[in-house]
């Protein structure tokens, strides 16, 4: 460990961690800003997705007033919010960690005075700040000006807090998934499978309130719900509804916080079990 690194328990530890986090985030931002046109693909893909959703749901609502507790206007806003939230919470910590383990490059992290998970989280901060600037904001402007959708959240503060927590749940779930790289030669298949589950059960394809009641009860206790559906429905309606249970934004955030803590603990336990399996030669 470098001589300048504050030791555990030092009063300088938190500010130092913050410095490290900001430095890693800034470096990641600069690294990915060189490829900002890749992120800007969302400016084309996002509006096309919303356009299709607009026509699908306009056709479907022809004979009904509400679906899953949402009227047509709310449903369109739901999909707009879902896209936008995806841009700031998107994560590929699983792919990154699996790549580091597979190539042996993870070895360099075992020598650094920093937990790899903290490093990866800091990277995500930098990466998603770029997402905020080149994906979220341009798409939000397009949704408002071109599609004429009222994208104003019902409660801005609660919505922002919910998105931040979804950011963390996404990260911890994906990081835990990435740890499979220590156990399997190629964990791409499992990652793809969980990706499918996430798409289905985080409310990206369709609001979870359209699922059968029994499925909604189960989803209430799965982390997927808090990765996308919770902030999206809070943005859309100002409250959280699932499985016939409606709770205000603050209570929903408490549930999200529990999901963050739960996934943090799971990732830590799994990290400790996984790290013992790592072997590298020089990297």
């Amino acid at each position: 460990m470098g001589g300048t690194s504050p030791q555990r328990g030092s009063p300088q530890r938190l500010p130092h961690s913050l410095d490290v986090c900001l430095a890693v985030a800034e470096a990641t931002y600069k690294e990915w800003a060189a490829y900002r046109s890749h992120s800007m693909v969302s400016i084309l893909v996002g509006p096309i997705f919303l356009l299709v959703q607009y026509f699908i749901w306009t056709a479907v609502y022809g004979g009904v007033e509400t679906l899953g507790g949402l009227n047509l206007e709310q449903m369109i806003r739901y999909f707009g919010a879902s896209s936008l939230i995806g841009y700031v919470t998107m994560d590929f910590a699983d792919w990154n960690l699996q790549m580091l383990v597979r190539t042996g490059k993870f070895l360099t992290f075992t020598l650094r005075p920093i937990h790899h998970r903290f490093f990866a989280l800091s990277q995500k901060f930098g990466h998603r700040v770029l997402g905020l600037l080149v994906e979220f904001i341009p798409c939000l402007i397009i949704f408002i000006l071109l599609f004429r959708i009222d994208m104003m959240p019902e409660n801005i503060l609660i919505t922002v807090m919910s998105i931040i927590l979804a950011f963390f749940v996404n990260f911890y779930v994906n990081y835990t998934l990435g740890l499979l790289g220590f156990w399997l030669v190629d964990a791409g298949g499992i990652s793809r499978f969980v990706g499918i589950l996430t798409n289905i059960f985080s409310g990206t394809l369709v609001p979870l309130t359209l699922f059968p009641d029994w499925a909604q009860y189960i989803l209430l206790f799965l982390p997927f719900t808090y990765m996308g559906y919770a902030p999206t429905i809070i943005w859309t309606t100002g409250h959280f509804t699932l499985g016939g249970i409606t709770m205000n934004g603050y209570l929903a955030i408490a549930f999200q916080l529990i999901a963050v803590c739960f996934m943090y603990v799971i990732s830590e336990i799994f990290y400790r079990l996984s790290i013992r399996r790592f072997s590298g030669v020089g990297a």
């Binding site: 490829y35 046109s37 890749h38 693909v41 084309l44 893909v45 096309i48 997705f49 299709v52 026509f55 699908i56 306009t58 056709a59 479907v60 609502y61 022809g62 004979g63 009904v64 679906l67 899953g68 399997l184 030669v185 190629d186 791409g188 298949g189 499992i190 793809r192 499978f193 499918i196 289905i200 394809l205 369709v206 359209l210 699922f211 059968p212």
Partner: protein, 276 residues
């Protein structure tokens, strides 16, 4: 290596290209099978997940109909038929063509395309022939199962099958052309792993009844970029509700494919490498 073998003799290339394509394609399938045998668990998982995804893809429709709503003029099983055909078309492209996007992208990023350019056959044929993906067969199976089950629950006009196959082939051509254009774009837009997302976003216009779109958009997905030929029109043909003027879409579909091939061959000139 003599000049003729290197492919400098155009006549030699023309004479041997088709024969070579067949052999290289078989070799590509063989390599894909060997790779699958080496990573058996991953291969099985990938196929299983593709199968699950193909069956889960119509989830939105299942939930919409489960909630008591519907697409006007379409019963549940009719929509399933359309989406099964779409999944089949999409999976066919994934098995036979789509991987050219990733292989081209990797060659451009690593600067190793010379190894392809030196081979005595057109690069585009070589890239397609080595793009066979055995691990996408699950999606093909899922799409087929979904189509057959849905067809069993609909009143199908079997006599329309040849026309359905023709339009389905046009849809496959459109999707393949879009893959080739994505691959070609990677010569300029290096290592952009999101190129496929653009293509897939347009696919969304083929998975739902085309009548839900306004007339301008309907015209676009029928006669400009005929994505409706992937799922909607083949289903309409089988259900006996196809507007026969739409057969004309095979012209823009063929033109789009020809443009994609020209575009790939044109963009390959932008490749820069230093020996692979």
């Amino acid at each position: 290596m003599n000049a003729e073998y290197r492919g400098e003799n155009t006549e030699y290339r023309k004479k041997h290209t088709h024969h070579g394509f067949g052999r290289v394609y078989l070799a590509g399938i063989g390599a894909s099978m060997k790779s699958a045998a080496a990573y058996r668990v991953n291969f099985l998982l990938m196929n299983l997940f593709d199968l699950v995804w193909a069956v889960a893809a119509p989830l939105v429709t299942i939930l919409i109909y489960g909630s008591g709503a519907s697409f006007p003029g379409w019963t549940f099983w009719e929509v399933m038929l359309m989406q099964g055909l779409f999944e089949l078309s999409s999976a066919l492209c994934a098995v036979f063509v789509e991987n050219i996007v990733w292989s081209t992208m990797n060659h451009v990023r690593e600067g190793s395309l010379e190894t392809v350019l030196l081979k005595p056959m057109p690069p585009i044929l070589y890239m397609v022939s080595t793009s066979f993906r055995l691990d996408s067969f699950g999606g093909l199976l899922g799409g087929l199962v979904l189509t057959l089950i849905a067809a069993g629950n609909c009143e199908i006009m079997a006599i329309s099958l040849p026309l359905c196959i023709l339009i389905f082939a046009a849809g496959f051509a459109v999707n393949s052309a879009a893959s080739l254009i994505s691959a070609a774009a990677s010569f300029k837009w290096v290592a952009n792993s999101r190129l496929s997302e653009i293509r897939m976003s347009f696919e969304n216009f083929g998975i739902y009844p085309v009548k839900i779109f306004p007339s301008a958009l309907r015209f676009a997905v029928t006669f400009i970029l005929p994505y409706a030929a992937m799922g909607c029109f083949p289903a309409e043909i089988l259900l006996g509700r196809f507007d026969y003027i739409n057969i004309l879409l095979i012209i823009p579909a063929a033109l789009f494919l020809m443009f994609a091939i020209w575009f790939y061959n044109h963009m390959i000139r932008l490749y820069e490498g230093v020996g692979g």
